[in-house]
């Protein structure tokens, strides 16, 4: 009886999902397919020739990995891939550490930290501000030579004798970009983790305390394993976000991308939209980025599906139980 009813309504399921599906086809699937196609063609220059598969369809892909010129240096694409990975890793490790530490502190059951609401709001603030604004603000803060806050302060405090050209130094500019990323995101990660820690059954902590466990042991043996799935989720989403990092390295390192601030997204943008407009190479780079993200997404998919499947199994079980009880009642 019940099943029949569901079947008769099923057409509404399709109907209501149509707008999403159509928008997905036009704005996601079609562009990806088109990008894939361009990657195999000879689309180059301001007025690209008619779309045609190139004589060597894989030429663009080969180019991406071919060492630069006679020097044998790594290709710009691989270089930007490594830059992106470096910037992401160096921002993520302190970000997660700090977020975990703060989450543990803010959820400590013996020491209540006052003003938590204030701290959370302030720590999250940099995340809400436009990345473009932040990039240019930091570019101004770290400017050179005179009249820029950081240099000015360091000289007045006697740490530096004369102004330092941060924006002309690879290590320094990369370090600042990594700092900005970490500074913008640790608040968000912290709030996520706090919610996860609050979700842990408090009885587990109480039992551990009765057994004489200290703060460190509770953190290591209860908190950390319990929030692991959410940490993984954060890791994966942050990794994908990090792979498409653009605004801050682009606007902070304006004109100085050679300093190790060239990320994949910047590479794609500059290859396609700056002279000599190598659409095919940029498309090939996008496809490789897509494949990397796909692999990471499959991992995320597996992570979420697992949980969903478990939830579903639980629901089914309850349903069966209810049905059985009903049967007994009759």
């Amino acid at each position: 009886m019940k099943r029949k009813k569901l079947v008769s309504y099923s057409k509404y399921g399709y109907l209501f999902a149509i707008p999403f599906f159509v928008a997905f086809l036009i704005f996601t699937l079609y562009p990806i397919m088109y990008t894939l196609l361009i990657a195999f063609t000879n689309q180059q220059g301001i007025m690209p020739p008619k779309l045609k598969i190139a004589k060597d369809p894989l030429a663009s892909f080969k180019y991406l990995f071919k060492p630069r010129g006679a020097t044998g240096k790594m290709s710009y694409f691989l270089d930007s891939l490594i830059n992106t990975a470096k910037i992401w890793i160096i921002n993520f490790i302190p970000q997660l550490t700090l977020a975990l530490l703060l989450a543990a502190w803010f959820t400590d059951n013996r020491v209540k930290v006052k003003g938590q609401g204030f701290y959370k709001v302030v720590f999250y603030l940099p995340n809400i501000i436009t990345a473009a604004t932040i990039a240019i603000l930091f570019r101004t803060l770290f400017g050179y030579p005179a009249g820029y806050p950081v240099n000015d302060m360091l000289i007045k405090m006697g740490i530096f004798k004369k102004a330092f050209f941060f924006l002309d130094n690879g290590m320094a500019s990369r370090g600042i970009v990594e700092f900005i990323q970490c500074w913008q995101w640790y608040g968000s990660t912290m709030i996520t983790l706090i919610a996860a820690v609050i979700g842990i059954n408090p009885e587990i902590f109480e039992a551990a305390e009765i057994d004489g466990a200290g703060r460190w042991r509770k953190f290591w043996n209860i908190t950390l394993p319990s929030v692991r799935p959410i940490m993984l989720f954060t890791l994966v989403t942050s990794m994908i976000g990090g792979l498409s990092m653009f605004d801050i390295p682009m606007l902070f390192g304006e004109g100085k991308q050679k300093l190790g601030l060239q990320t994949i997204a910047i590479y794609i943008y500059q290859t396609a939209l700056k002279d000599p407009y190598m659409y095919n190479r940029a498309a090939a780079a996008s496809i490789i980025l897509f494949l990397i993200i796909m692999v990471i997404s499959i991992f995320l998919f597996w992570l979420l599906r697992d949980k969903d499947a478990a939830k579903l199994a639980k629901m089914k079980k309850q349903e069966m139980k209810r049905a059985r009880e009903l049967g007994r009642g009759l």
């Binding site: 399709y14 999902a17 704005f27 990806i32 020491v111 003003g115 500074w183 919610a195 996860a196 606007l251």
Partner: protein, 289 residues
């Protein structure tokens, strides 16, 4: 008894030390979060000469209006134009994103259809796909169809927002009981009406938090509008900010800070007003996810 007291005493003492460390670290972090913005806001009111002499000051200057005047005379940075364009795009994106995500989530939650599982897998699969990946094809297609500089190209994609659908579906699972829907059916309401007048009101709390994130995400988006828009009359706020990197602003120290403040201040104010919902929204979203 006495030894017990000593244990308790030392425990309390270590708790105080622990607390002190927490407050010191949190205060340093809070200052770190606020300091760049404080410098920005204060320097927006100071003259270029003042800033050149002392770049950091905690006392506001008197040159705010002078800076506004100088900034207004420059050609590229037009905050009002940027704000108007950003508002049009972000409001439309938010409305489409929220409405259609609710509809899609409801389609998955309330009905049993054959391709549902495949459809939901697709949503999770594309959840994290960044615009970078589709940019080349999207830009070329828009270019050939003469659709660059068309705001709709930034607005319409919001109909398919996988992240929001995923969140809304999780929310529906926790709050909507199908009994309500059934009784509406018995009363003779059409499925579409049931969704609009019964399901949507139930989803209001989830809609509010997701709307904030959709709006801010769209407002702060720099990559796609920068690629798609060539005409200055279409520039959104982040593109306007990027104009401050141009050489004509290099010598006007106060103006740069003022321009940055103009783009950051509306966000800071809205954030402080809505911070409660935003902070709880982040937590809700991620734990649900």
């Amino acid at each position: 008894m006495a030894s017990n007291d000593v244990v308790l005493h030392s425990k309390a003492k270590s708790d105080i030390a622990f607390k002190t460390v927490i407050y010191i670290v949190c205060t340093i972090l809070a200052l770190l979060s606020l300091f760049p913005f404080i410098i920005m806001l204060i320097n927006a009111t100071r003259s270029t000469i003042q800033i050149q002499n002392t770049a950091v000051s905690l006392v506001p200057g008197k040159d705010l209006f002078k800076n506004i005047d100088i900034l207004g005379k420059k050609e590229t940075f037009k905050p009002l134009v940027g704000m108007k364009n950003s508002l049009i795009i972000s409001v439309s994106v938010t409305v489409l994103n929220i409405y259609f995500s609710c509809l899609t989530a409801y389609a998955i939650h309330a009905y049993d259809w054959k391709l549902k599982k495949a459809f939901f897998s697709l949503i999770i699969g594309i959840m994290c796909l960044p615009g970078t990946v589709t940019m080349i094809g999207f830009y070329r297609a828009c270019y050939q169809l003469h659709l660059t500089d068309n705001k709709l190209m930034l607005i319409l994609p919001a109909i398919a927002a996988p992240m929001t659908v995923f969140f809304m579906k999780q929310y529906l699972e926790g709050t909507l009981s199908m009994d309500i829907v059934e009784s509406a059916r018995i009363d003779g309401a059409s499925e579409f009406r049931t969704f609009n007048s019964i399901v949507l009101p139930i989803m209001k709390p989830a809609m509010a938090t997701q709307a904030i994130f959709a709006f801010v995400g769209s407002w702060n988006n720099y990559f796609l509008p920068m690629i798609l828009f060539n005409k200055p009359k279409n520039y959104t706020m982040p593109i306007m900010v990027a104009c401050l990197n141009e050489d004509i602003y290099k010598t006007e120290f106060g103006c740069i800070y003022l321009g940055l403040s103009m783009t950051a201040l509306p966000l800071i104010i809205v954030y402080l007003l809505l911070s409660k919902y935003i902070v709880s929204g982040i937590a809700l979203g991620s734990v649900k996810g």
